[in-house]
């Protein structure tokens, strides 16, 4: 489709070429296991918050890696840091520290 250069709606496509990866880089730097995910969904399967809300740690990991961070602060606020996800992760990802560093990244957004 011809791109006329203006639109009142933001497209739903993942714009990976123009997305901002600063949060992804920050978390990977402070908790390298953030990059080990193979998307199996064990974390979400066992997550207490996911039973009652739309919280989905697997999806959050994926979306940050894609540079998709809209609504991230609200999503992360649903996590209760219980750590069950860490017990079931087959990759041994330090999921709690990932979440903590996502929060740090969001708080320091301007400084990244």
């Amino acid at each position: 489709m011809k791109d006329w250069g203006y639109s009142i709606l933001k497209g739903r496509q993942i714009d990976i070429e123009n997305n901002d990866f600063s949060i992804s880089r920050f978390v990977a730097q402070h908790e390298p296991s953030f990059k080990w995910c193979i998307g199996c969904g064990s974390c979400t399967a066992t997550c207490s918050a996911a039973r009652l809300t739309g919280f989905n740690p697997r999806k959050i990991n994926l979306l940050i890696h894609r540079g998709e961070t809209t609504n991230l602060a609200e999503e992360i606020s649903k996590c209760m840091l219980c750590g069950k996800c860490q017990l079931v992760c087959p990759r041994g990802i330090n999921t709690r520290n990932v979440i903590q560093n996502i929060k740090r990244a969001l708080n320091n957004c301007h400084a990244l």
């Binding site: 080990w36 193979i38 998307g39 199996c40 969904g41 064990s42 974390c43 979400t44 399967a45 066992t46 997550c47 996911a50 039973r51 989905n56 697997r58 999806k59 017990l87 079931v88 992760c89 087959p90 990759r91 041994g92």
Partner: protein, 351 residues
């Protein structure tokens, strides 16, 4: 090659060792085949039907036994090899009972063992009666007894859990065991054939249908047999009061967690090196892969040669392989040994 009386010792009489011993024997080499059990055949003996064509496993067993009888003079059972050492180019194979023998060539075909599912306590194998492994199910299918839950009733809902002990850093296995995917598809169809009224669900992370007719069988499982595949690794299994099992996974393709109850759960356990494989490899000073399998000197160009001259490897002591791949690998190893001996002969004649 009548002048070449190089003695070849083959360790392990599973499919790899049997096929290699018979091939080398047929080529005129004196071969000694050592087997730790009191019978040949290895784990092929415990299989019911082979994927993807449901061929009875005994057909392949009969073929191997027949070739062995014609081509290999010396087969020693109850010979548990504990170490292999090398001195002055000769290899010494030492058995658990203290006996030893010398060979010019040692071909290790000591195979694999299945991952111990009890290590993944969150799946409850050995704790919940209705959690079984894929070898357990294979034995039940082979026995031709009707498939039942622990209390003797016919299971109506059955789950297959893929990647148990494979691709699992916590279980110490980063590697993919390769054949469990298609085993899960094969066994799901076999169960559905026996129990047409049962509902069957396979929980997977990725389905690796790499072989000929594997993808076709996977499609058949869905379309013809109505088996449901859910992309999500099971995080935990719990037992209900009535002995049925509650299972949790994320249906990752819809992005939502799910909970389901089952009468029977089958864990598709992965492949790890046999205890003997590791012991023999370490005693011989062989390089190991990241998954502790025996490493080749060159993965592309000499997959059956090790870093030690005259010691060769074949079959699942190298990496997880199907029966078909194992037999192909055994023939490749045999050719590799023959070429090596021919070259060594030429060199010695030049001197």
């Amino acid at each position: 090659m009548n002048t070449n009386r190089q003695h070849i010792i083959v360790i392990g009489a599973g499919p790899a060792g049997l096929e290699a011993a018979a091939t080398l024997g047929a080529a005129g080499y004196p071969v000694t085949l050592l087997e730790k059990e009191n019978h040949t055949g290895g784990k092929l003996k415990s299989l019911h039907q082979l994927f993807p064509g449901f061929r009875p496993a005994y057909e392949v067993q009969n073929y191997l036994d027949g070739r062995l009888e014609i081509n290999v003079a010396q087969v020693i059972t109850n010979a548990d090899v504990i170490s292999v050492t090398t001195e002055n180019g000769k290899h010494k194979v030492i058995l658990a009972d203290g006996q030893s023998m010398n060979g010019d060539i040692v071909l290790i075909a000591s195979g694999f063992q299945v991952f111990n599912a009890e290590k993944k306590e969150e799946y409850g194998y050995g704790i919940y009666e209705n959690v079984i492994t894929s070898p357990d199910l294979e034995a039940k299918l082979k026995s031709c007894d009707p498939l039942t839950s622990a209390n003797g009733t016919t299971p109506r809902k059955i789950a297959f859990i893929h990647c148990v002990g494979s691709r699992d850093q916590k279980a110490g296995n980063v590697h993919c065991s390769r054949v469990c995917c298609i085993t899960g598809v094969k066994q799901a169809i076999e169960v559905k054939m026996q129990l047409p009224g049962a509902e069957i669900f396979n929980f997977y992370m990725d389905l690796r249908m790499f072989g000929q007719n594997f993808e076709e069988l996977y499609i058949e499982a869905q379309q013809k047999w109505g088996i449901t595949f859910i992309r999500g690794r099971v995080s935990e299994i719990g037992e209900n009061m009535d002995g049925t099992l509650q299972l949790k996974a994320e249906d990752t393709l819809s992005g939502r967690p799910m909970k389901m109850n089952f009468d029977l759960v089958v864990l598709l356990v992965g492949i790890v090196p046999a205890r003997q494989t590791l012991a023999i490899g370490k005693s011989a000073g062989l390089a190991l892969t990241s998954g502790d399998f025996l490493a080749a000197s060159d993965a592309q160009l000499s997959p059956n040669k090790t870093t030690t001259d005259g010691i060769f490897i074949t079959g699942t002591c190298r990496e997880p392989l199907s029966i078909a791949e194992t037999l192909t690998d055994a023939r490749a190893a045999s050719v590799s040994i023959i070429q090596y001996l021919n070259e060594r002969q030429k060199k010695s004649e030049c001197i």
